[in-house]
Amino acid sequence: MNKLEFDPLLDDPATRVLVCCGSGGVGKTTTAAALALRAAERGRRVVVLTIDPARRLAQSLGLRELDNHPREVVVEGFEPKGELFAMMLDMRRTFDDMVLTHAGRDRADQILSNPFYQTISSSFSGTQEYMAMEKLGQLVAQDEWDLIIVDTPPSRSALDFLDAPQRLSTVLDGKFIRMLSAPARASGRGLLKIVGTGFSLFTRAVSTIVGGQLLQDASTFVQAFDSMFGGFRERAQRTYELLRSPGTGFVVVAAAEPDALREASYFVERLSAEGMPLCGLVANRTHPVLAADLPAAKAIAAADDLDRSGEAPLAAAVLRLHADRVAVADREKRLLARFTRAHPGVSLVGVPALPADVHDLDGLREIGRRLAGE
């Protein structure tokens, strides 16, 4: 197994973007924030883009509300060698800003007030992923930071992050909307020929279900949008290229659990198929044994002895919690070994769990040390 070494990666001026990804609940946000803090303390000018941080973690970075712009982290006693900025993504506002920047005032108003826009910008499942990418693109373009660390949305699958922009751009591409909203005009040509009369039946069925008004709104929206951007697809494409460019690296975060590691496996394979650079796997919140010389069986036997005699309840408790810990550690080791067998080329670092939630810079600094293997 190769060990994932973070310090050389964070110190290398050629490292410009780090994307922390993984399935939900594995500690992506905390990992992103801890890496950013460490990089700033080692001298880099860093911004961390968080998506949905726990309240106390956000507060520890001085983030009190979504304001969609990076703010310098100012905390008493915190004087990094470099600089640390942080922000929380406001998905809706990022989308609105994008529209305002690229459309004229009148057209922007028309788009922003369209009911279909409201649906797409607030509840379409790929919007958060897309907007995270859009914001990353903007931060890169601003060129104010020499390292950008991005957290990814809490989707169930790590792959959603790569697929969602494409999915959204397909929707906004307008092919289907044009067909659905103007089937009479389009019928008989191209794609529709294949489907034939089934399509008009389908259109009728869909408009019975969805309602004519929504189709109309969607159609208006797509037309306004289309001319404005010269294609959403190109924009998604550019973001995609950014992710493949040198200087970008992916950090896959997983808990030492079967589900999270399965997702991590999919993601590792996908990155390699797409030619995207993988830094390695963070096996987050492990529980290494701290008293390795005492086998679990021996500890349990001794605890049983003590319990029978009723003496030394504290020592018995210590023995039992040690045995629990050995069992957990063994399981984690087994699962990680399985991952490594399947992906021998992937560097890995285990990050021992802190016993409680992180809620200040000291906690983040401690996680940074653990990430760096100190």
Partner: protein, 330 residues
């Protein structure tokens, strides 16, 4: 830990939600087994296209049909169904329009995904519609085919939107077949036949999301059921030692004397390791206790499920089901 209430026993549709990563699917499966215990027939449904049930029961992906996947103690049985919004839409359209071959072609083209994307509410209405159909279905004897249906629902961040069919319908056609069906779904989801359970872990974010979800459910006039606290670690230390140890103080001479009494003569390094493990254990116990207190603000029946160090396999599901049965689930 409180227990399952009489009111929950009357529910026929058990919706299980929770923050991502809390073990929602595992708990939904264990709940289905628990409800089936003693000879009942239960349907376990998933709606997110992830084939989580098949993975959990270690079998091939489920087709779009109800398959028997497990037996429960006392002659009960659990069936499973992976509802797919596309298949549900086609099934639906087939009832009213004869799409046949064209339907399959449209599916290949992604047109159906497109239609469900156009109106995100449509997908939810189709999925909950199928669930309602399963809950209400009767056998030849006129009795309900399933004694209970357990729904592995979307995570807490989305579950209220998912269940709030009335709101979803605002986007959809004001007349037509779906409208008629959705009224039945609304009735079921807001009735005493439905309970929405929330799976939580004793950590900050899952607890926070659980409390938020309870408030959102209340506001939407949906009925929160029980809080199912997953992966609860055993508390090993005597109560009086916990707060002291959490501050980093372990009486090492006492531990050493105790270990010697048990015939263990350990070196300094190992003793220090044990003390560090003890401190971490105590800090975790304390923070879990705080999380539990915060959870009690929800004022819901709260059931605890143990951490399983060997991981979750089919045998473990039965173990969890047994814990639920002991806590009164039936």
């Amino acid at each position: 830990m409180t227990s399952w209430t009489e009111e929950l026993t009357r529910a026929r549709l058990h919706v299980v939600s929770g923050k991502g990563g809390t073990g929602k699917t595992t708990i939904a499966a264990a709940l289905a087994l628990a409800l089936a215990t003693g000879g009942r027939r239960v349907l376990l449904v998933e709606v997110e296209g992830r084939q989580g049930i098949a993975q959990l029961f270690d079998r091939a992906p489920l087709p779009y049909s109800e398959e028997r996947i497990a037996s429960a103690p006392g002659g009960g049985e659990v069936h499973a169904l992976a509802v797919d919004a596309e298949a549900a839409l086609l099934e639906y359209l087939a009832m009213f329009y004869n799409l046949g071959f064209a339907g399959r072609t449209l599916r290949k083209m992604g047109a159906i995904e497109f239609a469900t994307t156009l109106a995100p509410g449509l997908r939810d209405v189709l999925l909950t519609g199928k669930v309602k159909e399963c809950v209400n279905r009767t056998g030849p004897d006129g009795r309900h085919l399933y004694d209970a249906v357990v729904l592995d629902a979307p995570p807490t961040g989305r579950v209220v939107k998912f269940l709030d069919v009335t709101k979803a319908m605002a986007d959809l056609a004001k007349v037509g077949p779906i409208k008629g069906q959705s009224e039945g779904v609304v009735r079921l989801l807001h009735s005493g036949d439905t309970a929405v359970h929330l799976v939580a872990l004793l950590e900050e974010m899952p607890v926070r999301e659980t409390l938020d979800a309870v408030a959102e459910l209340d506001a939407a006039d949906l009925r929160p059921g029980a809080v199912l606290v997953n992966r609860v670690n055993p508390i090993r230390l005597p109560a009086r030692s916990i707060s002291v140890a959490a501050e980093g103080r372990v009486d090492e001479s006492r531990v050493r004397a105790g270990l010697q009494a048990a015939g263990l003569d350990l070196d300094e390094f190992t003793l220090e390791g044990l003390a560090d493990e003890t401190v971490e254990h105590a800090i975790r116990v304390q923070s879990e206790k705080e999380a539990m207190e915060l959870l009690s603000e929800s004022d819901l029946p709260t059931l605890e499920l143990p951490e399983l160090t060997d991981g979750v396999d089919v045998a473990a599901l039965y173990e969890l089901a047994e814990v639920l049965v002991t806590a009164g689930v039936r």
